[in-house]
Every structure is written in C-alpha cells, then in structure tokens.
Symmetry: C2
Subunit: 212 residues, 2 copies
C-alpha cells in the first residue's frame, strides 16, 4: 500500500496529559517527531537539530518571507515555527511525522496539507481537566484559571479535528494504542492509495481487452 508517510498533528488542552501520551507513543513506535525552529537561546544540553533548530531573528524572518514555515507564532518575544522542508523530506522518505502543536497552528497545517490527520487528545470531562491541573500542584490558582479559560477558547475548534481521543485516568496505554491505530489506518485510505488504484485499473483493463 502507500509508501508516503502520514502527517499527523496532535493537539490538546494544556495540562491534560498530552505530553505523557506523546512520550509513550514515541517510545513504543517508530514515529518522526517534527523539530521546530525557534529564535530563543538554547538551554544547557539542548542541541541544534535535536530539540530545536536554533535560528537568529534574521534567519527566522527570512524563512517567514520565503514561505518556508508551515506555521509560526511569536510567544514571549521569541519566534517558534515548523519548517516545511524538514516535514516534507520525512514524508517523502515514507516516515510518519507527528507535529505536537497548539490549535491555531494545527488548523494552519490542515490548510497547507489537506491530507494531514488532526487528532485532539482530551480528558473525559472539564472537571477532570481542572482536577489534573490542581493535582500537579505546580501552579497558582490564577495560573490554573488562565489555563481553563484558554481551554474554553480552544474547545470551540475541537470539531475541526478529524479524531477525538480520550485520555482517561489510568488508561494511558489504551490512549496510546488508539492514537497509533488511527495513524496507521491512514495508510489504507483510498485517497492515500491512488497509485495502487491506477495500477489495479490498468491490470484489470488488460484482462478485459486481451486474453487471460
């Protein structure tokens, strides 16, 4: 079947446990996590081309001007973005690429790659999202309120995703398997197998026209 890689975008509410799902998924299966470009300074131990592509503002601005980024945003004075070339190279090499980005970015990716698969990972209830944020115990009530308000703004776009996967408490493995299955099934979509369809049409047409 199709040899082209599948481009998957995974999003979810901040604090909902999406990070744990992605970590477990990448540990168990062979996916290519897209590397973002940024203008922020590398932290100790971070390497260019591993955690990020570290660029100057001029370099980043040049990529914006040349449409070399699938999506980008400015956050606390620094640029962050997804280099198009890196993603395309991985897909053409037959690798399934995952982008873990927030919702506005995800919708921009879908715009440029209509075949991209958009998966939204969510806790089963709003109450559960709140509980997880509180249980982490690392943030003030004000910060938690901010995150919940952001979730309320983001949920409006949930229906623009292709699939919604629940990340239920103590069911991490189930969530990881579901995400993996959804991605792998993309390889069987008719729209991803036009070459195979054309081949079958040619072969069967030959039987019709000639002897068998």
């Amino acid at each position: 079947m199709n040899k082209q890689g599948v481009l998957t975008v995974v999003s979810g509410f901040s604090g909902a446990g999406k990070g744990c799902v992605m970590k477990a998924l990448l540990k168990k299966y062979n996916y290519e996590l897209s590397i973002s470009a940024t203008t922020r300074a590398p932290r100790t131990g971070e390497e260019h081309g591993r955690e990020y592509f570290f660029l100057t503002r001029e370099e980043f601005q040049g990529m914006i001007n040349n449409s070399e980024l699938i999506e980008w945003a400015e956050y606390v004075g620094n640029y962050y973005g997804t280099p198009k070339k890196y993603v395309e190279n991985q897909l053409n090499a037959g690798k399934d690429v995952i982008l873990e980005i927030e919702i506005q970015g995800a919708l921009k990716v879908k715009n440029q790659f209509p075949d991209a698969l958009l998966i939204f990972i969510t806790p089963p209830t709003g109450e559960e999202l709140k509980s997880r944020l509180i249980r982490r115990g690392t943030e003030s009530i004000d910060k938690i309120k901010q995150r919940l308000q952001r979730a309320a703004d983001e949920v409006i776009h949930m229906e623009e995703y292709d699939y919604i996967v629940l990340n239920e408490t103590d069911k991490l493995e189930e969530c990881v398997e579901t995400v993996h299955n959804i991605i792998q099934n993309e390889h069987y979509k008719a729209s991803n197998n036009y070459n195979f369809i054309i081949k079958m049409k040619d072969e069967l047409k030959a039987f019709k026209e000639g002897d068998i």
Copy 2:
C-alpha cells in the same frame, strides 16, 4: 465516546476471498451482519430472519414503494435488498452493523447514510485475482473471464470507497485485524462525537464564566 453503532459496507471483487475475511471477522468480533430481504425461495436449512427475510414479490414491491429499502436490485428474476428499519434499529441500539454488498449497492448506501464507512477488500494484484479464481477450480474459463471482466468494470469505483484493504495470500489474520481497527476507529471521529463536543464546550464555558 459515541454510543451510536457504525454502519460499515464491505465490498470486493468476486472470488477475491472477501467471504473468508468476513467469516473470520464475525467469528472473532461482535458485529451485526445485516440480513437482506429476498423474493427467492428459502433453501433447505435456511430460516426467515436468519439467512434472509423471505418475502413475496408483492411484499418486496411494497417495501420498494414505501422507501423501506436502503438499496435493492433484481438478479436472475429475484429481488434482493437491504431493509432500512433493521439496520437503523441495530445502529440505534449501539451495534456496529456490517453490510456485505456489491459495489453499486454500496454507493447507494453511502448516498442515504453519508456517515457509512465503505471498505474495499482486494487482492494485491490483478494477476493474483486471476490465480485465485483459477485455483478454486470450480468454474469454466468462460465463467472466470466473466468475473475478471466484471472486476474491470467494478475497479472504476474503487476510489469512491473510504478505505482499501489488501487481502494478501496467507495473511488473512492481518486483513481481519485491519478491517476491525478501521471500523473501531470510526467511534473516535469528531463527526461521530458531536454530543461529547457539546458537553465539553458547556463544561469549559462554565469555568470561564464562573469561579473554578
């Protein structure tokens, strides 16, 4: 997630081994196979409501007139069709229903149930389809030619299916698992989970408006 059953239509070239796949799938997993209506006489051992709903021509004609069939066709002097009510009852009871019907019928189902999942099961090559028909050893060369010509007519509609699954030699189990995964993933589609999305929107909106 969504409690509504998924309606799946499985088609494939005659003689390609689709029957084996369906048999193994239904043995291993809990799917509801839709029962067709027909005007042909029951054969020994066949029961009304098990193999078929056996109807008179008048009864069948009445169902056509009252739009009670999802699709129907006349074949060698007898009517065959899929009763709408039976399928809808099963779906509303949360059961995943499978229709095993030929291609023209499948496209009519998609017309009436746009959310129906269409899966096409195919051998990996035209040559392999020919070999399987010959290996069965039950039919004349003329009959085999007819089947291949029909396949050549049918392959034109392959791209109208949602998924294409290869039924490769000695890989029956793999094919069955793929079909099962594709059907189960439908339950995670955003378009099948509007109730969940509405619930999350309401819950998160409440956080935004009130205290947490």
